[in-house]
Amino acid sequence: MMKINVILPVFLLLVGLTGLSSCEDNVAKVATVEAEKDITGNWKVVKLTRNGEDLSQRLDLGGFRISFHPDGSYTLANELPFVVHAPGTYQLNDPQYPFALLLTPEGGDDNVAAGFQFPVVKGKRQLSLTFSLGCGNNTYQFNFERENPEL
């Protein structure tokens, strides 16, 4: 009986510890292919920060839309300062692991790059673009959500 008293807790402890160390990289061995980022659709601004300060409640964000079309073009409904002011074409710098969105407005040859993130916030996919508008020291981050076409 004494033996069981000793063995059982020690056994349980060992099982517990094994559990801790059993997180081997089996998961990492599963081959995955990172999906290409699809940003097509109509996007509305849900958050706007300037140098980290949240301006969302202080400015009227309602009118601004950016639409990315499947043919590689984009259009703007422009009531906010934005990195481009004319429609044109867009491209991600890498289809799978993008960190920049390149916008080429019509009538200009130059790409305009915006820092790109594609996080899921509260269960909704967000498109987050970071750029400067005036001085290079001032950084703006626009967070967009897809507009529901039914609404």
């Binding site: 020690v10 980290g52 301006l55 009531e79 005036g134 001085c135 020291n137």
Partner: protein, 329 residues
């Protein structure tokens, strides 16, 4: 409870308690700073941070880490380019290197500099035109139990070309602890007394004392989004007791010609109260003034008025307008 189980439970408790005590009693001592009262523009000045380490580690364990140090200075100083940080300690002296922007502070998920800015802010300053820059010792150092030391971090930096009143920020930390919000043992922050830079051209930039009116960001162009504030608590003005404060503003181009003027009392020009007798209005100047694509606004002149427009307040509580020049440098 069976005896062995009880022993194991006690063992867990002791280990847990030991870990907690270790966390509570280890760390850095309070940070103090030596900052001169004033300097001339473009002078190279030395600031000194004084702190220490108090390792309380269960023998025979050791604690190995790199020293972190951060400074918060006006962006106009260009400290990223010209600041040099060194440290002296009984465990050795060394140079510190700026942490690359690409390196992410693990707790916040942003760069170390941005993480420090988010965590420590601008301290007692009232206007934000600052950057936090975080440096790390090139070497790691190993501490044993009770190996208490004190150390100094020397910051050499040019103070820029602008006259200013400012309180500078300083930080020391331990590289393996990151910037955890709840941690108070491994990150120590201090802000200096008022430091004055004199002898330059142009207006004094006062980061410390409340201003009747101010514009944020301090440096911006007409394509930025800017915030104009009015602080009625600074002094008694003609708008004393008014609840509705309006903006009356003119935009000028580089040549000094009037480009646009907005002098109306409406939702467009009404400031929002933010408490403490402070008011603000945010706008994008290019759209606010509705200027053509080729037109640039170089300078603003503005007053704050009451609902009739009859009572107005200008620069220094006079009839002169407040002014703001769009520039990046």
């Amino acid at each position: 409870m069976k005896p062995v189980t009880r022993t194991l439970v006690y063992l867990y408790l002791v280990i847990g308690l030991g870990t907690t005590l270790f966390l509570v009693h280890c760390g850095l001592t309070a940070l103090t700073v030596t900052v001169p009262e004033r300097a001339n523009v473009n002078e190279r000045v030395t600031f000194v941070m004084h702190s220490g380490a108090e390792p309380r580690i269960e023998e025979p364990g050791t604690y190995t880490t790199q020293l972190l140090a951060g400074i918060m200075v006006p962006k106009s100083w260009n400290a990223r380019e010209n600041a040099v940080l060194t440290f002296t300690s009984p465990k050795g002296n060394g140079v510190m290197r700026m942490i690359p922007d690409s390196e992410i502070e693990p707790v916040s998920g942003v760069s170390w500099h941005q993480a420090a800015k988010n965590m420590f802010g601008i301290g007692p300053n009232l206007v934000d035109d600052f950057e936090w820059i975080v440096y790390r010792s090139t070497q790691a150092y190993t501490f044993r139990n009770n190996e208490d030391i004190s150390f100094d971090v020397n910051v050499e930096c040019n103070v820029g070309a602008e006259n200013m009143l400012v309180r500078l920020g300083f930080y020391v930390g331990s590289s393996i602890e990151n910037l955890r919000p709840e941690d108070t043992d491994y990150k120590k922050v201090a802000f200096s007394q008022v430091f004055e830079v004199t002898g330059g051209e142009g207006d004094l930039i006062d980061f410390v004392n409340p201003q009747l009116a101010s514009v944020q960001p301090v440096r911006s162009l007409d394509n930025d989004i800017i915030t104009l504030t009015f602080d009625a608590g600074v002094t008694q003005t003609a708008l004393e007791g008014q609840e509705d404060i309006y903006l009356s503003i003119r935009g000028y181009d580089d040549a000094g010609n009037l480009v646009a003027e907005i002098n109306e009392r409406s939702g467009k020009t009404r400031l929002t109260a933010v408490g403490g007798k402070r008011y603000r209005i945010d706008f994008w100047p290019r759209s606010y003034f509705n200027v053509d694509q080729n037109q640039r606004i170089a300078r603003l002149e503005y007053f704050y008025t009451d609902a009739t427009g009859a009572q107005r307040v200008g620069y220094g509580n006079t009839e002169e307008p407040f002014t703001y020049t769009f520039r990046c440098q």
